[in-house]
Amino acid sequence: MAVTTRTEDLGYTPNTDGVWSWITTVDHKRIGIMYAVSALVFSLVGGLEALLIRTQLAGPNGTVLSADAYNQLFTMHGITMVFAVIMPIAAAFQNYMIPLQIGARDVAFPRLNAFAYWLFLFSVLMLTSSFFLGGSPDGAWTGYANLSTQVTEYVRMDYYAIGVQLLGIASIASSANFIATIFTMRAPGMTMMRMPVFTWMSLVTSFLLILSLPVIGVGLWQMFFDRNFGTLFYAAQASGDPLLWQHLFWVFGHPEVYVLVLPSMGIVSEILPTFSRKPLFGYSFVVFSGIAIGFLGFGVWAHHMFTAGLGPVAEAGFGITTMLIAVPTGVKIFNWIATLWGGKLTLNTPMLFSIGFIAMFVIGGLSGVTHAIVPADTQQHDTYYVVAHFHYVLVGGAAFGFIAGVYYWLPKWTGKMLNEKLGKWHFWLMFLGFNLTFGPMHILGLNGMPRRTYRYPEGLGFEFWNGMATIGSFIIALSMLVFIWNVIRTPRKGLPAGDDPWDARTIEWMTASPPAVHNFDRVPVVRHLDELWHRKYGVDEEGRAVPLPDGYVEEPAFIEEPGGIHMPSPSFYPMIAAFGLVTLGAGLVFWSSGILGVGMMVIGAGILMWGVFGWAGEPITREAH
């Protein structure tokens, strides 16, 4: 497919060189790349935290870490992996791929998009800096009250209350952006039911975030007020209720699980058809089961509280809704297997990770069903069995899917193919290491090992499987080094990818790799689900795909834009506003230290004002200069 650069139509000359061009960019693709790089870097931080944890637990009565250090590390491991790795890698794909998949030239609010990225980045940096500035959050990523409001002498849980709050604002901003983009900026003919499944699942997660984040937002403010202003929301001695926090947290926290895994399910739903050379089996069922999971996800939160004493009626109700959610999840898995069925499978790296996703997610899904069995859950709750379960869902599931996405889409981002041999090494090492790490944790939990314990005594039979898990964790680390090496070498040494290296199905493969700043020289008119495939293949009388003769595409194949293409101009105000907001937040963290905190708040508010007013007064597209 010939690519013509129509920069002369753009109305300005995009400055694409130097750090300044990245700081001021509002291009969804560059923001996507920044999310991806950030997620990769923070995965090293979160991974290092995990390796320290596993080293401490390699044998009984570990002495590598103090209890205090361990508590900070496991808390930050959870926060880092959820908010700084999995969510931003999802945001990276959503930013980069949604406009390309629906035939848009950018997202609906490009500067808001940049703001969301910078707010995310500065918030995570603030949270991570806590290791050196006052101590990190040490009340678990769930931040249960009233432990989180107990010790106010340290600022640690203030970092949590403010940091997660700011990350939530960033997520709401980008979710609103994706919803507006998907609803209003689809190419002609791209009806909702012709949208790629990844875009669909991203739409669902955007709604989940917008509806669930305000709930934890309220909870976090109450925590911050309890800690700093003497309120008593969670204080039992004043008729407050510690369980209130658990409800607020899990009304966010359970949908959040689907926020982490649904985009990954979307990616797998793109990859399996491409490399099976068949359409996705039951597209509408896969889409609607994703929506059903999103809805039901709001009705299961109390299954995280089956030991809290809610009473048998509430426990029975939430047990049944939790069982129910297995049905749409099963539908997805069966449809994926049916997609493979009868296909011609190419088992390259994206496919291996996608199949690995299914295989591991089945385990995580089944162990999830055992949590719905309330009496059994009272044995499993807060043990390593649960740790095993959610790592099978979030690593074997979500992370495998996102890695599959990297191997699948990075050629579009860079124009170069990742190395297939290194990719296979990465897959098999990670598959082995992952199962060696987290498989034994099921056994440990059932054998009575609680989670969040910095050491365990001899004589309880925990030694062997903990040792295996530690070995496994280092194999995962090795596999990630192979992955990072593969990614780093690709822009220089990768083989050229071309526009459509996989003979794929969706319209992001119709434009150049990497795409020009305006994405498509000519935006395609969409007539089918899997539009690109239908421009390349028809079916014979047996129903088998046959290549269409060259030039066979229904007209008009592309829309005409006689007025030229108008892209938004770069702006540094979003970054300024985000920096001001995080400085303001950091001031709140240090509120208790008086002048330091108040000073930072004043400065932060000033910077925020500068950013917001500069942003408001700036035209979105400046004239050519």
């Binding site: 508590n71 297997i337 059994a376 807060d382």
Partner: protein, 371 residues
């Protein structure tokens, strides 16, 4: 209602065990005496009810697992693209009948599992009936307080002990639980599922230890993260015959003697001057007058010498360990005594009082003598 647990439960269990060929080996390995804290090794009626349910679900889940993964693996090998095959596959978009079938089958399986789940749930959550041993449990950072409200000493004070729970076998004990500070969770896996101890609330758990388990000591520990020493908030449950339990209760309701000479006597002076700021003891003076010394902010020490562990099961209760503990408690487990606030009753650990060797020796003699 007394359930015919031993017969019905046992038969179903052996049947399902036979079916569970794949996880069977794993489970059998788990049911050895080397795993004293295992939930797969039930030693009470309640734990066995949970275990029966778990085995049922495990068998079903294993069957589903094998079928789904087999289909996946089969598809990978069967439909892998072969070099000599250039034909494209048939473009199949879906099949509504199949979708309905694989929506309904899981729903039916889950409905079938829901029935015993709810039965067991309501059964376990029903109040204990009949001749019940009542225990009030209070969680503290990082130790357990056990009070038997129906077992009183001569002055009418209930039996109070710490970190070591004694229960008679064959009778149902009902634990009424709350927390003095943050949320904890009572968990002794072989005796049943866990239950949180929530400040400002009361939660309940029933335990009916198996009659043939008398003489066993079963470890358990806190299962809800409660900060620094969460990992070291452990306990030990002693299962006793009814007569042994009665004898234990009788000795525990006796006051401790105030020693009159030797090391222990000097130790008692240190106790009243230092330890009594947090610890309590019921003591009998030379004339037989019984009084309570100290504050109930930390474990009751009246019968400290009769316990087999110290520091919430972080070490065996020997004179040497006790001396080390008094010398520097934070050596044994992480605590934060610098944050103690007597005004609000927030106690986060025992400080190092910098006692001299003589004072420590006196305290060891005193406390180890308080059987």
């Amino acid at each position: 209602m007394q359930r015919p647990v031993a017969n019905g439960g046992g038969r179903r269990r052996s049947l399902t065990r036979t079916l569970a060929v794949v996880p069977g080996a794993l489970l059998l390995a788990a049911c050895s005496s080397t795993l004293p804290q295992s939930s797969l090794n039930p030693k009470s009626a309640e734990a066995r009810q949970i275990d029966d349910l778990w085995i049922l679900v495990l068998v079903i889940a294993t069957i589903v697992f094998v079928i789904v993964e087999a289909a996946l693996v089969f598809a990978i090998f069967r439909f892998r693209k072969r070099k000599d095959d250039d034909r494209e596959p048939k473009q199949i978009h879906g099949n509504t009948a199949l979708e309905i079938v694989w929506s309904i089958i899981p729903a039916v399986i889950l409905a079938a599992v829901a029935v015993p789940t709810l039965q067991t749930l309501f059964d376990l959550r029903s109040p204990a009936e009949g001749d019940v041993v009542n225990v009030n449990v209070t969680g503290h950072q990082w130790w357990w307080e056990f009070e038997y409200p129906d077992i009183l000493d001569d002055q009418g004070r209930p039996l109070t002990t710490a970190n070591e729970l004694h229960l008679p076998v064959g009778k149902t004990a009902e634990l009424k639980m709350t927390s003095a500070d943050v949320i904890h969770s009572f968990w002794v896996p072989p005796l049943g599922g866990k239950r949180d101890l929530v400040p400002g609330r009361e939660t309940f758990i029933k335990i009916t230890p198996d009659a043939d388990r008398a003489g066993e000591q079963i470890p358990g520990q806190c299962a809800e993260f409660c900060w620094l020493s969460h990992a070291d908030m452990r306990m030990l449950v002693f299962l006793q015959t009814e007569s042994d339990f009665a004898a234990w209760a009788a000795s525990q309701t006796q006051p401790a003697d105030i020693p009159t000479d030797g090391l222990a006597a000097s130790g008692y002076e240190t106790f009243t001057a230092v330890c009594a700021a947090c610890h309590q003891a019921v003591v009998a003076g030379p004339g037989g007058t019984v009084s309570v010394v100290g504050e109930a902010l930390a474990p009751d020490l009246t019968h400290f010498g009769s316990r087999s562990t110290l520091g919430a099961r972080v070490a065996s209760n020997t004179a040497e360990h006790l001396a080390q503990w008094i010398d520097n408690p934070s050596d044994f487990k992480a605590m934060a005594p610098d944050l103690n606030d007597f005004g609000t009753g927030r106690i986060l650990g025992m400080p190092d009082y910098g006692l001299g060797d003589d004072e420590i020796a006196g305290l060891v003699a005193l406390l180890e003598g308080w059987k």
